[in-house]
């Protein structure tokens, strides 16, 4: 073998090695990429395509391309707009009250005034709602909020209400009742996260604050809250996304009736009750767009935290 041939063989080998090195990370990533493609990308693209066509899935006629007509129909529909408004109320109220209750209970459980056993006991009690599945929670609260249920009985006995209230079937009350149930079922997640965050704040900061003459409120405002900020932002954004997706709780308590229609129940009805899969796909894409926006904020906040 001449020198030239040796050099050519070596350079070919180097070229192969370089290609291999370039390709290798993708090979390692391929199982995840394939899974992502099959489980996420393909369904999203399929639903997006459905939203641009008519006569999809349960229609023997060939699908007809209609462009953005389904979106126009959905976005201008009175019931869809009502569902958006209800969803926003449901999600924002849930996130705000989850935050307030979660933080309050976490502060209580983090207090040095309580003994370890008392804390352990209340941790179990406070976390209980999180243990139940959404369907169990719905059944439980349907019974409690029944006109002849425990809640009305207690409130009547103590004179808090003049007559039986129809918590889930009164048009003015139902959306608040459903939001309340969602708050009850979701606050433990905040509680656990905040408790972990509180336990991670160094005592030195509080001691320095006290030396500077800070009172309890000032310590909370200038030390606790800023220290919890990354957790608060992450929790709020994730909770907002999860609450927008909440279906079982609303469906099993009111079926979306009595002014409680939210985007998830609206989509379900369009798909599985009206068999209007194109419209349902358009609604699903709108929900996806909202959630993507929130997710972008979430990722940005994570990046800022990391930096």
């Amino acid at each position: 073998m001449s020198n030239g041939q040796v050099i050519a063989a070596k350079s070919a080998n180097i070229g192969w090695e370089q290609r291999k090195r370039k390709f290798l990370p993708y090979a390692y990533l391929s199982p995840t990429l394939i899974l992502l493609a099959v489980l996420t990308v393909v369904p999203i693209v399929t639903v997006f395509l459905y939203s641009l066509f008519d006569n999809v899935i349960v229609n023997p006629n060939p699908p007809e391309f209609v462009g953005l007509e389904n979106y126009e129909e959905v976005l201008t529909h009175r019931k869809f707009r009502a569902a958006v408004s209800n969803t926003l109320y449901f999600a924002l109220a849930s996130v705000i009250v989850h935050f307030l209750i979660g933080l309050s209970f976490a502060l209580l459980l983090n207090s040095k005034l309580l003994g370890a056993n008392v804390k352990a006991f209340f941790r179990v009690i406070y976390i209980l709602p999180w243990v139940f599945t959404a369907s169990i929670i719905a059944i439980l609260w349907r019974l409690l909020m029944n006109p002849h249920g425990v809640i009305n009985f207690v409130l009547l006995e103590i004179g808090a209400i003049p007559e039986l209230l129809e918590w889930l079937s009164d048009r003015k009350l139902a959306i608040h009742s459903v939001t309340f149930i969602n708050i009850w079922s979701g606050y433990p997640f905040y509680l656990v996260s905040f408790l972990a965050g509180l336990q991670g704040i160094p005592d030195d900061l509080y001691e320095a604050g006290r030396v500077d003459g800070g009172n309890a409120w000032q310590l909370f405002w200038h030390i606790t809250l800023p220290q919890l900020r990354p957790i608060i932002i992450s929790l709020a954004l994730l909770d907002f996304i999860w609450t927008i997706h909440q279906f079982t709780l609303v469906w099993m308590t009111t079926g979306g009736g009595r002014n409680t229609e939210v985007l998830s129940t609206y989509t379900y009805k369009a798909a599985f009750s009206s068999y209007e899969y194109s419209e349902a796909s358009a609604t699903a894409m709108v929900i996806l767009a909202i959630c993507t926006l929130v997710a972008i904020f979430y990722v940005r906040s994570q990046r800022m935290t990391d930096e």
Partner: protein, 413 residues
């Protein structure tokens, strides 16, 4: 010796293969098997197989909602089971997909005489579903409560309203009637609302089978009558979010004196409250109406997949299940009324309440106009929403019916 044994085994395998190849295997998807006593449905199918050598039936069984989802999904992909259990509410959507084989065609091919069939669900003039077990919805009345008030079971709307008023005692949480109108399960529109209309011979559709909610005097009268019951305070509170099972619970716990309910709940009610003294009666009709009363009902229907290669064998199975022998067996274990007019389930001869129900069944006619309509559940829901506003007094009768008509016309398009 070894070779002989080996040879025998090969011959046996080949023979069994031949016999397997000759057998036609029918897939039969339905939700009935889990609702029947264990093994009883399989026993009926075994009898069918014994009478039809060469045909085997494999059941695909699951709960009602799962079965519905699976059948509709498999229809979309052309993989529906050969024979399917059907609810009247799904027939239209399956028919639109071309997923169901015409039973009119199947009957003609088999030269079948359909005179014994109690009902056939037709679309565009052809049969696509045959109800083989029917569960009617009479009025259940609490005899003790009626007796204490000195009232007989009501037969007319006026009698019903008077009885409901006499039996209502809000201080003790007792009401005359319960009407479940939950939007999650909007079948209260079919069973507890439109049933009043059908009992008086009325219809919610015109002669062409299109929505006829506006300028329909009988319908308007019926809705006004139901509102009068709500206005009188005789309807159990929470109606707008109440589901069917909660209605039954209210009756079982003697907080409601009268409900419109399926016969399928007989056993359940007796188990839940063995001391409950109750009877059934036909749905009250409007004053002056003496024609036959329409009886709301739910059915276990049956149909054949348009894509099956075994249409003749599938029809044989339906033929057996709708025959006097097969239908008697099935309806006896299901506590249902037969799809064959000559079948007589056992329970009719042994249980007084079922005897009464059978008389009501024979005097009236099966009426469920939602069967076969497009997106039947959504029709109920679209009717339910303005109906609730009307009952609350936030909408006038005409406006409510106009909105419902508009929504229905959209769906029918």
């Amino acid at each position: 010796m070894k070779k002989t044994v080996l040879g025998l085994m090969v011959v046996l395998v080949l023979l069994s293969g031949v016999s397997m190849a000759q057998d036609v295997v029918l897939e039969f998807q339905q939700w009935w098997e889990p609702e029947l006593p264990e093994g009883s449905f399989r026993a009926i199918l075994d009898d069918f197989e014994a009478a039809n050598p060469g045909i085997r039936v494999e059941t695909i069984s699951g709960p009602y909602l799962t079965t519905k989802d699976q059948i509709i999904a498999s229809a979309a992909t052309g993989t529906m089971a050969d024979v399917v259990g059907l609810d009247g509410a799904w027939v239209n959507v399956l028919w639109k997909q071309g997923a169901l084989h015409s039973l009119t065609q199947a009957m003609a091919d088999a030269m079948y005489d359909d005179s014994e069939l109690a009902a056939q669900i037709q679309l565009a003039g052809e049969t696509y579903m045959i109800p083989i077990a029917n569960f009617i919805y009479p009025v259940f009345v609490n005899l003790d409560m009626l007796g204490a008030a000195g009232i007989d079971p009501p037969s007319t709307r006026a009698e019903f309203a008077a009885a409901a008023e006499a039996l209502t005692d809000p201080d003790n949480n007792v009401y005359g009637w319960a009407q479940p109108l939950s939007l999650e399960q909007p079948n209260g529109i079919q069973n507890d609302t439109m049933s009043w209309l059908w009992a008086t011979g009325g219809s919610m559709l015109d002669d062409m089978g299109q929505p006829n909610l506006v300028d329909n005097m009988q319908l308007a009268d019926t809705m006004a009558y139901i509102k009068s019951l709500h206005d009188a305070g005789v309807v159990a509170p929470g109606a707008f979010a109440m589901k069917e099972n909660e209605k039954v619970e209210e009756f079982v716990n003697e907080r409601v004196a009268m409900i419109i309910n399926t016969l399928a709940h007989f056993t359940l009610i007796r188990e839940r409250n063995p001391d409950l003294n109750f009877d059934i009666t036909a749905l009250p009709a409007a004053e002056g109406y003496d024609g036959p009363r329409g009886l709301p009902y739910a059915s276990w229907g049956i149909g054949i997949s348009a894509h099956t290669e075994h249409k003749a064998e599938a029809w044989k199975l339906i033929d057996y299940l709708t025959s006097v022998e097969g239908n008697t067996k099935l309806t006896s274990i299901a506590n249902a009324f037969p799809g064959n007019v000559n079948a007589t389930p056992d329970f009719i001869q042994t249980d007084q309440l079922f005897m009464t129900a059978f008389e009501i069944f024979q005097e009236g006619y099966l009426a469920n106009e939602f069967t076969g309509l497009p997106a039947a559940e959504e029709l109920m829901r679209q009717f339910d929403e303005p109906f609730q506003l009307y009952l609350e007094g936030d909408m006038e009768l005409d406006e409510f019916l106009e909105i419902a008509q508009e929504e229905w016309e959209d769906i029918f398009e």
